[in-house]
């Protein structure tokens, strides 16, 4: 008896999921009518995953993005973000959560105008209270990660859309957040620039970062390890394209091709 108890194998350390949503509802009052944007969605996203949330307009994917990004709170349901119960947090606490746990990438880049790339990337660190010296070093590193080390002092107005979006990605990763949340990041970009940005997401995910992508483009969703489709506020499809632990599918493909090319 005694030996059984002591020799019981240790509990495996299960990494807490980045996102755990249970039965979430979001309703808006639109004049007289009540719009149910989300109807009882439950979802778990693990650390290191690359998830694409798809859906047509009106499917509730924007609402989903707002709630996942702590920009909005659900009307009903439970939401743990990296182990933190987000429900009932006030404005100040929510801004802290956003600052520490989420890196946003928006469709329209949303860089601060008249502010250099470097200053834009430094800003989240400034709001988090990081000292100027460290801030600068980290911002430069983040811009290097998106291959923009030559554009540190450029203003958003002096850069192409793809470059601006890469600055936005650098800004999203500079705080080392638990999750990168990208809302239609390629929506305003041409194919080549979109490929560049997606390649960066691939690399970030390969380095172990969790990426959540909101998109309506199927070929962008192909980059993700897992595709979730929303329709009328409910999850109608949850398809896994690659394992959480492995490389993102496109990166795996290209490395396979490269490997194949090398062997032949």
């Amino acid at each position: 008896m005694r030996s059984l108890v002591t020799e019981r194998p240790p509990k495996p350390i299960i990494p807490k999921p980045i996102i755990a949503i249970r039965n979430i509802w979001k309703t808006y009052a639109m004049g007289e009518a009540e719009v149910r944007a989300l109807r009882g969605v439950s979802l778990t996203i693990d650390r290191g995953d690359f998830v694409a949330i798809m859906g047509d307009s009106g499917s509730g994917k924007s609402t989903m993005m707002n709630i996942l990004g702590c920009l909005d709170v659900p009307s009903k349901g439970w939401f743990w973000l990296d182990g933190v119960d987000v429900r009932g947090l006030d404005e100040v606490a929510l801004s802290q959560v956003r600052s520490r746990k989420i890196g946003f990438v928006f469709q329209s880049y949303n860089l601060i105008p008249r502010t250099t790339a470097l200053a834009n990337v430094e800003l989240p660190l400034a709001y988090a209270g990081v000292r100027p010296k460290e801030r600068r070093a980290r911002a430069v590193a983040a811009l290097e990660a998106v291959c923009l080390e030559a554009r540190l002092d450029h203003l958003p107005s002096e850069m192409s859309g793809g470059q601006q979006q890469r600055v936005a990605v650098a800004r999203a990763i500079v705080t080392n957040p638990s999750m990168i949340l990208a809302d239609e990041p390629t929506g305003n970009l041409d194919t080549a620039a979109a490929e560049d940005v997606m390649a960066i997401f691939n690399r970030l995910n390969a380095e172990g970062r969790t990426v959540v992508l909101i998109t309506h483009e199927a070929d962008i969703a192909q980059f993700a390890k897992r595709v979730i489709r929303l329709r009328d506020g409910e999850i109608v499809e949850d398809r896994r394209q690659a394992a959480v632990e492995g490389l993102p599918p496109r990166l795996a493909e290209s490395s396979t091709i490269r490997t194949a090319g090398a062997t032949s």
Binding site: D72, E91, N110
Partner: protein
Amino acid sequence: MIWRDNLRIAVGGATSNKLRSLLTMLGVLIGVAAVIILVAVGTGSSLSVQNNIERLGTNTLTVLNSGRFGGRATTGTQTQAATITLADVRAMQDPSQAPDVESVSPVVSTTVTATFSGATDTSAAVTGSTPSYLTASDDTVEAGSSITSSEVTNRSRVVVIGQTVVSDLFANENPIGQTIQLGSSSFQVVGVLAEKGASGIQDPNNVVIAPYTAVQDELTGESSSFTELLVQGKSNGTLDLAQSEVETILAAANNTTVANLPFTIINEASLLSTASSTSSTFTVLLAAVAAISLLVGGIGVMNIMLVTVTERTREIGIRKAIGAPKSVILAQFLYEAVFLSLLGGIGGVLISVIGSQFKIAGVVPVIAPYSIFLALGVAVAVGVFFGFYPANRAASLRPIDALRYE
């Protein structure tokens, strides 16, 4: 967030639209400059009024013989003009009757044409009096000597002349010892008065002071009465006591009561306090008008900040999404409003310092240091007050709404 970074962001925001910021600052600038300059004008004019009165001597009483113009004491069938007599002067000089009177200077005044070897000085004011007059009226002899008591007793025809008379009559000669003609009589110049600042329309330097006895003999004709008395009190505080002693003496001499005294007594101290209270009311009024323009400037700041917040709604949303707390956004826009109003305020101080170098409406403005601090302080307060509402509005925006804003 380090406040210095936020300050830099705020300044960057204010300088992003230079023309608009400049115009907003102009509103505050004009307000602050108006407050400082108008208070300076008020202070300057009240100072000049005070100087004028103090030049007359603040501890003096002037007894004017208004009896000639209708204040007649009627006793039965006998009608006689009430006059200031030598007996009155003697009584006032008696310390037992008037202990608070320092000196009494009887004055006989007239206006004559003064000439010196052909050069003509029209209408010099001739004052016939005693040596104490010069002290009481704050006149000082610059060169030569004053008139003396013995010259008064001896009815000597000597004069002390003012600077205007000197410049009109004497080109290069030394006036001391020269003989000038006052009307048809000749007087010897014994002294020259120091320059006195203008105290109104009359030129205080166009004067001739002589013993009253000589003036009575030669110019006004033999008479026992005086035009006015200049009474100097022992001190400022006891001037009212001196006044009542003088009134008692005059009432007794004229068989009347103090209330019916046929003389006008001007108390310089009360004149000064009236004048200074009038001018301080004037200053407050000017400051109030200026304060209104400062208020208008403040409303301008608020207006522009509201526009700025609306214009930068999206930027506020981005900042909030990437982790800016409410307090930081509030501070950012407050800093911006205060930056505008402070800069406007500093500009206003500079403009007003420059502006007060010039005479405004005949008054030399004197900048009151308190008005600079007050106006700057109010400008900053205006920035905080009028900036708070727009800043709070920005800070309270929900990031989701702000991000959606186009």
